[in-house]
Symmetry: C2
Amino acid sequence: MPKPSLREHILDAGLAVMFQQGYAGASVRDIVGAASAPQGSFTNHFGSKEAFASEVLDRYFIYVQELMAQTLGNKSLLPLNRIRAYLDLITQKLTDAEFCHGCLIGDFSLETPTHSELLRQQLQRIFAAWHEPFAHCIREAQKAGQLTDTLRAEDLADVVIAGWQGSILRMKVERSVLPLEQFKTVAFATFLKDLTT
Amino acid sequence: MPKPSLREHILDAGLAVMFQQGYAGASVRDIVGAASAPQGSFTNHFGSKEAFASEVLDRYFIYVQELMAQTLGNKSLLPLNRIRAYLDLITQKLTDAEFCHGCLIGDFSLETPTHSELLRQQLQRIFAAWHEPFAHCIREAQKAGQLTDTLRAEDLADVVIAGWQGSILRMKVERSVLPLEQFKTVAFATFLKDLTT
């Protein structure tokens, strides 16, 4: 296996530091310290903390998109079951991490819009791209009669994503899986209720 | 009117700084700078940033509890309508602030559990106290036949609070009221559906 470049190594270390300390709380010194890299290499590779955070965020969303492809893109499941598979997979990942960190997109959403218009606009694009596979599953479920079509698929998709982010937020405080399970219980009994079972 | 004490003044300024920069990103120097107070007065009055943030958070929750009393405690409204009144009041407050800041409890929930066990436990107590008036309204609505009782009032109350926090998170990215309105649309059409209208 080829050795990861110093650039990649700083990005990996920076993700962990930003999860731990947030965008504002993570200094360039903290990041290069975690990567055991010279400060000059950070400047050479990234220029600024804002540009660096933008790259960390894009890489993180690529990871989320892989998890979406495994679940929301799994055509062997009925459309609503794909959404459940996604939420169950994320629940498992967060449990494995002992509820110590949540979702970088959520963290950055609360923190960075006051600091960086660049990151805010990037988050807008990420949410739009995140929304799409959820809305697609919901439209398919509505077309197949698995879900009532009295509500707009677009609204439902956004509420699923927002409700899930809020449940992760509560999970971080409780250090417990309960808020995630409560959300799934209510969602799949009401606005994502499977009409075929 | 008596002049607010320096202590109160530092607390007010500190709330604004923590909304803007987060817990980790707000240094004691930033806080005393915003309050035009000498650094020594911060140390005298609060001891540490953690103790200061704890007091800011408690004061903020007293403000939220006043908004809850006005709405969730308004016995002239039917129980579900009290919840709508609360969400509408918060929507108005966030709109007035031009979506620039959200809820300090949400911000601290994502950020502080990795920094401070004291703040994490305080947030746990705040969520428990926040939950209670929601669960009470929902139980009353279920008893009065305004809401189906197929779901536990405790789960519904937590999902309302979590879903709302997630909607505020999205609002900060979009700088728009839309995520808040989407949440209300879906909630009051499904898990908070009024059976009497």
